[in-house]
């Protein structure tokens, strides 16, 4: 009788309704979001390298931020964009922002508006403020991606004659000093596709631009070899990478703002435990069933 009950239990283990699994997963994600507890994130070397590369941009050069992330990967990559922008503006680095595809423009603008708003709400003087045209420029979008990648080696204003808002680019104060890749300290590409490899192939191979990357976790395994060879100056992978960068920004610059990725680390941990548990349960059931046959 005990054996029959046990067999029935094992059968059930291998046939758990997927809706139960989804329900449990939703619960372990929602509860830590509603009742958050602090989870310290330890920054890894690839993220620290990226932070140092942005930190060490010479005063006469600019950060070129490629916000090529679409809405479907916003949760992973947007916190990276916000953290990098906070870092750059806090250190008074000059910033150029662009997107290689049209769907990404709105998200890039949203990140810029949020971070400049955070700084300007605390600014006391004009010098403290982050001002468009002086401290940053939103270049917008020019298709196809190969054109800006190669063209900016000669002239950024040539590739983007007008910025995202329709201003003539070469009339902006910042663009008087930032002419081409020679004036770029590092190019940080935030993307969920193979775009960072293209930046390496065209901007780095031909013009020697340093490339830093923030990518989705799915792309992580593909991109580590490029970090190992030094083609990427630094690398942030997935929401965890974003949380590590947020940690560095808060720790070093004492910027106390909302940290979307860091807040997600606790539900992320619990969700991984649940998935591992179900993988183990499924495998135990499978092996016992196979032995029975």
């Amino acid at each position: 009788m005990v054996r029959g009950w046990r067999l029935k239990f094992i059968d059930r283990l291998t046939k758990i309704d997927r809706r139960i699994i989804y329900g449990i997963l939703a619960l372990v994600v929602i509860l830590p979001l509603v009742f958050p507890t602090a989870l310290k994130v330890k920054p890894m070397t690839p993220v620290e390298k990226l932070y140092e590369a942005v930190d060490n941009i010479p005063d006469e050069k600019a950060l070129l931020l490629d916000c090529s992330y679409a809405p479907q990967i916003k949760a992973e990559v947007e916190p990276m964009a916000i953290a990098v922008l906070r870092h750059a503006f806090a250190k008074r680095k000059r910033v150029l922002v662009l997107a290689l595809y049209v769907q990404m423009l709105g998200l890039a603008q949203k990140a810029l508006t949020q971070v400049t708003g955070e700084f300007n709400s605390k600014a006391q003087t004009n010098a403290d403020s982050i001002i468009y045209g002086r401290d940053y420029v939103f270049l917008g979008w020019t298709p196809p991606p190969l054109i800006p990648m190669l063209g900016m080696g000669e002239s950024i204003a040539g590739v983007y004659p007008a910025d995202y808002y329709g201003n003539q680019t070469d009339t902006l104060e910042l663009m008087q000093q930032i002419k081409n890749y020679n004036n770029i300290g590092i190019l940080v590409c935030l993307s969920g596709s193979a775009i960072p490899k293209s930046w390496v192939a065209y901007a780095q191979n031909r013009f020697g631009v340093a490339v830093g990357v923030g990518c989705t976790a799915v792309s992580g395994a593909d991109f580590y070899p490029y970090y190992q060879t030094g083609q990427f100056s630094g690398l942030m992978v997935g929401m965890k990478g974003a949380a590590e960068y947020e940690e560095l920004v808060e720790e070093n610059l004492e910027i106390k703002e909302k940290r979307m990725a860091s807040e997600a680390m606790l539900p992320m941990t619990y969700a991984h435990f649940v998935i591992m548990l179900f993988i183990i349960i499924g495998n135990i059931g499978y092996f016992i069933q196979r032995r029975r046959k």
Binding site: R18, R19, Y22, L25, A26, V29, I30, L33, V34, P36, T45, Q72, I73, K74, A75, E76, V102, Q103, W141, P143, L146, K197, V200, A201, Y202, Q204, N205, R206, T216, A217, V218, G220, A221, P225, Q228, T229, G230, Q231, V237, G238, M239, K240, K258, M260, E263, A264, P267, M268, A271, H272, I275
Partner: protein, 212 residues
């Protein structure tokens, strides 16, 4: 709880819930959300390309007298010959130009960035040992990468039966391939969980106002 009063947040939240409902089973709410997404995405792209590319880059300069652009206009228009069976072969011209351009632009650059530099990264040199930032352990990691690359390549060598030395190296190669798949799968799980968390952050925060 502080419900959002922004109608756009409500639309986004209800569409998110409609998509989530597919996890229970296929239903009309899911299908409506799916169709709305496809329609909106296509409409957005078409209008954006029209107003930001075709009009300012092609039509305005063309009608202002830059007649050279008529060549681009004609080549682009040839894509539509696909809908006229008698002259549909003309579509090969723009396709050929596109393939030729991108092949020429990509192949040399990709060979340099993704093959030559990657092979350089595999060679056992003191610079590569130092690149790991791991002290003496850098040598160990470099040797592992070196063995891994050689063994994995030997697994994909099919001109000789996998026996003897080749049998051993190809078996080691499989281990490296499996570890690679495992890492990729683990990262994929993390990515999908991240997206789920992102949606819940929106639903519980921006929409319901339960979390700050």
């Amino acid at each position: 709880m502080n419900l959002s009063s922004d109608p756009w947040v409500w639309i986004a939240a209800l569409l998110s819930l409609a998509i989530f409902s597919f996890l229970y089973k296929e239903n009309p709410f899911y299908r409506v959300a799916e169709h709305v997404f496809i329609g909106v995405a296509n409409g957005y792209l078409v209008t954006f390309y029209w107003h930001n590319i075709l009009v300012p880059v092609l039509f305005k300069p063309l009608f202002a007298g830059r007649l050279i652009l008529i060549i681009s206009f004609i080549i682009g228009t040839l894509y539509f010959t696909r809908f006229i069976p008698k002259i549909s072969w003309l579509v090969r011209i723009p396709i050929g130009i596109t393939i030729g351009y991108y092949t020429g632009a990509y192949i040399p650059a990709i060979i340099q960035a993704s093959i030559i530099r990657q092979v350089q990264g595999t060679i056992l040199t003191s610079a590569n040992f130092a690149a790991w930032n791991a002290g003496p352990w850098g040598i160990v990691w470099s040797v592992i990468v070196f063995i891994g690359v050689l063994c994995t390549l030997s697994y994909f060598y099919f001109s000789k039966e996998h026996k003897g030395v080749l049998g051993v190296t190809s078996r080691i190669g499989i281990v490296f391939v499996m570890i690679g798949f495992g890492a990729a799968f683990g990262y994929t799980v993390m990515a999908r969980v991240s997206l789920l968390i992102g949606r819940f952050q929106f639903l519980l925060g921006d929409w319901l106002g339960i979390i700050q």
